[in-house]
């Protein structure tokens, strides 16, 4: 009887170890836990907003800014906002160790209206690129490109280029929208590409 009990304990221990191993492999595949949103929000409320690029005004819209925040949670955030203090903002954060998410470019597309592109009233792009990018362009759905103006940005995490861009109403009304953001080296070689787009 004690031997049977010992075997049962061993079998249970092995089963527990196996399930823990499987659980940790699955968790690792899924990248662990998401950031604590409340903690990030508190850090965002406390961190300084620094304007690093502009989003042009015109066509009935006021100029906006591209702002960054270095959070004490270890995140770097990029915002498209009316001003540094405005709650009217859209943007996001990545780990400051990898602010571009492992790519040569990281961009956020903000828009109002839609989801059909012809019904979009305003669309803007903001983000960061690697300092090794000589140019960053938006590839449009008709095959044309829009070149973004880059502003050098020096951070403890490294050197980057910041950009902001507002799409023309005539493009949107014609059903022409962005499909990718591409970073290129001086010779034209593609360094990185991020898919984007309006609607589903």
């Amino acid at each position: 009887m004690p031997r049977v009990r010992k075997r049962m304990v061993v079998v249970l221990a092995l089963a527990l170890a196996g399930s823990l191993l499987v659980g940790s492999v699955v968790a690792a595949q899924r990248g662990g836990n998401p950031p604590d949103a409340a903690k990030v929000e508190a850090a965002i409320a406390a961190a300084r907003m620094t304007r690093v690029a502009d989003v042009a005004g015109g066509e009935g819209f006021a100029r906006r800014g591209v702002f960054i925040q270095e959070l004490d949670t270890g995140d770097l955030c990029v915002w498209d906002a009316a001003s540094a203090s405005s709650p009217d903002r859209q943007g996001g954060c990545n780990s400051i160790d990898e602010p571009l998410g492992g790519s040569a470019v990281s961009a956020n597309l903000a828009y109002d209206g839609g989801p059909a592109i012809e019904n979009v009233r305003d669309a803007r792009l903001s983000g960061l690129a690697s300092s090794s990018a000589a140019s960053v362009v938006v590839l449009m759905s008709d095959g044309s490109e829009r070149t973004l103006r880059l502003k050098p940005l020096h951070l403890d995490a490294g050197d980057f280029a910041a950009f902001g861009f507002r799409f023309k109403k005539s493009d949107l009304r014609s059903g022409i929208g962005p499909i990718a953001v591409i970073a290129r080296a001086a010779g034209g070689k593609e360094l990185g590409r991020q898919a984007t787009g309006i609607g589903g």
Binding site: P87, G91, G101, Y111
Partner: protein
């Protein structure tokens, strides 16, 4: 009897006012396995103003507000960041919506604030 009813009514009113005044936060969708186009939505409310998606790893996703009249999208944001947030400062009745634009394995939570 009249006095006790008055106290009860006063307490109910005070509770209702404090509930209205306090900010509400609702996690409306969570998953760790996404297919392209998959998403979820909150209930409709006029008091929602902030929509958030928090991910364990970076992937291409969209958050937006959808009004209950034309079902148009408002203050939409598409990006790869592990934390995205958008604000729609309108008293219109709306729901928050989050979705993946690619298939991804990432523990993710979508939340809306009032």
């Amino acid at each position: 009897m009249t006095r006790s009813w008055f106290v009860v009514v006063a307490m109910v009113v005070a509770l209702a006012l404090s509930a209205i005044a306090s900010a509400e936060s609702v996690n409306y969708y969570s998953t760790s396995s996404w297919s392209a186009g998959q998403g979820g939505s909150s209930s409709f409310s006029s008091s929602w103003f902030m929509n958030i998606i928090a991910k364990s790893s970076s992937f291409d996703s969209t958050i937006t507000f959808i009004d209950n009249v034309s079902y148009s999208w408002h203050s939409t944001l598409r990006g790869p960041g592990t934390y995205l947030s958008t604000h729609w400062l309108s008293s219109q009745v709306k729901k928050a919506h989050c979705r993946a634009n690619v298939a991804a394995y990432s523990s993710t939570s979508c939340a809306v604030r009032s």
